[in-house]
């Protein structure tokens, strides 16, 4: 259990990730109704690459973001550790 406050770096990286993920959400809904917009699809690919880099950085520092084997886990099981998103 981590009961000390999360470092500034946690909030900074999280915010970067939230920004890139948000662009991907917006482009997803847009592409759902504009599947033939190749420019938007191209941007989607670009942001997906940025997301991969940021996710890797975040998970190395603060543990897995996704459950059920969708994030790398280290030698110790940290998925179920606090803090949860509503606690930070």
């Amino acid at each position: 259990m981590t009961h000390h406050p999360m470092p500034k770096e946690y909030y900074r990286l999280l915010y970067e990730l939230q920004a890139v993920d948000f662009v991907l959400v917006e482009l997803t809904l847009y592409l759902d109704t504009h599947p033939d917009d190749t420019q938007a699809l191209h941007e989607f690919h670009q942001y997906q690459r940025r997301k991969q880099g940021l996710t890797q950085q975040f998970e190395q520092a603060f543990g897995p973001l996704h459950e059920f084997g969708n994030s790398p886990v280290g030698a110790r099981w940290t998925w179920a550790e606090s803090p949860w998103p509503w606690q930070v």
Partner: protein, 189 residues
């Protein structure tokens, strides 16, 4: 299948200890035009909508769960450290009597969530128009919640959620246009 992501869609910061706001915010948790109703409505309709718009209903329905988690976060932060006396003063005495600090799916007036809030007609146009109306009503609810709040940080998160409803409405109206399918009226999809 759904995969949980251990982060909020947008940061939720609550700067003032004002548990009364939790009483109002719960409208978007278990109210008629709230995020739970939205998620359940879209994810249920997708089984009987033309394939062209199933993806959109799935994705917007999924995003609504992220919004539900943001509202829950606001309520949690506003109430977790309040004393029963403070909750009583905030008009949450009745809530405390039944639920203590637990969140519950009801609206600001305390009425429990009911599935009769949402409809599924099985007619694609009728269902999409319900979705558009639901988005505009959710947008309006966020406006009234912003009006009731003087915490600028909380307002910031509510403004984000309000704008999402503007976009969802936009996409649902595009879905209607797609289903009108002027050019290929005899096309089967």
């Amino acid at each position: 299948m759904w995969i949980y992501e251990k982060k909020l869609q947008y940061p939720v910061k609550v700067s003032k200890c004002d548990p009364r706001l939790a009483k109002y915010l719960i409208e978007q948790y278990g109210g008629a035009d709230g995020e739970l109703a939205a998620a359940l409505r879209y994810l249920n309709q997708r089984y009987t909508i033309p394939d062209k718009v199933i993806g959109l209903l799935t994705d917007i329905g999924t995003e609504e769960f992220a919004h539900l988690e943001m509202i829950a976060t606001m309520v949690y932060k506003l109430t977790k450290d309040a004393t029963p006396e403070q909750l009583r003063e905030a008009g949450l005495g009745e809530h405390y009597a039944d639920h203590s600090y637990a969140l519950y799916y009801h609206n600001a007036a305390g009425h429990p969530f009911t599935i009769t809030y949402i409809q599924a007609k099985g007619d694609p146009i009728a269902d999409l128009y319900e979705d558009i109306a639901a988005e505009e009503k959710a947008r309006a609810t966020y406006q009234w919640l912003i009006d009731l709040t003087d915490d600028v940080d909380l307002q910031d998160s509510l403004r984000f959620l309000r704008e999402r409803e503007v976009i969802h409405s936009q996409r649902f109206r595009e879905a209607v246009e797609i289903l009108k399918d002027h050019e290929g009226e005899k096309k089967v999809f």
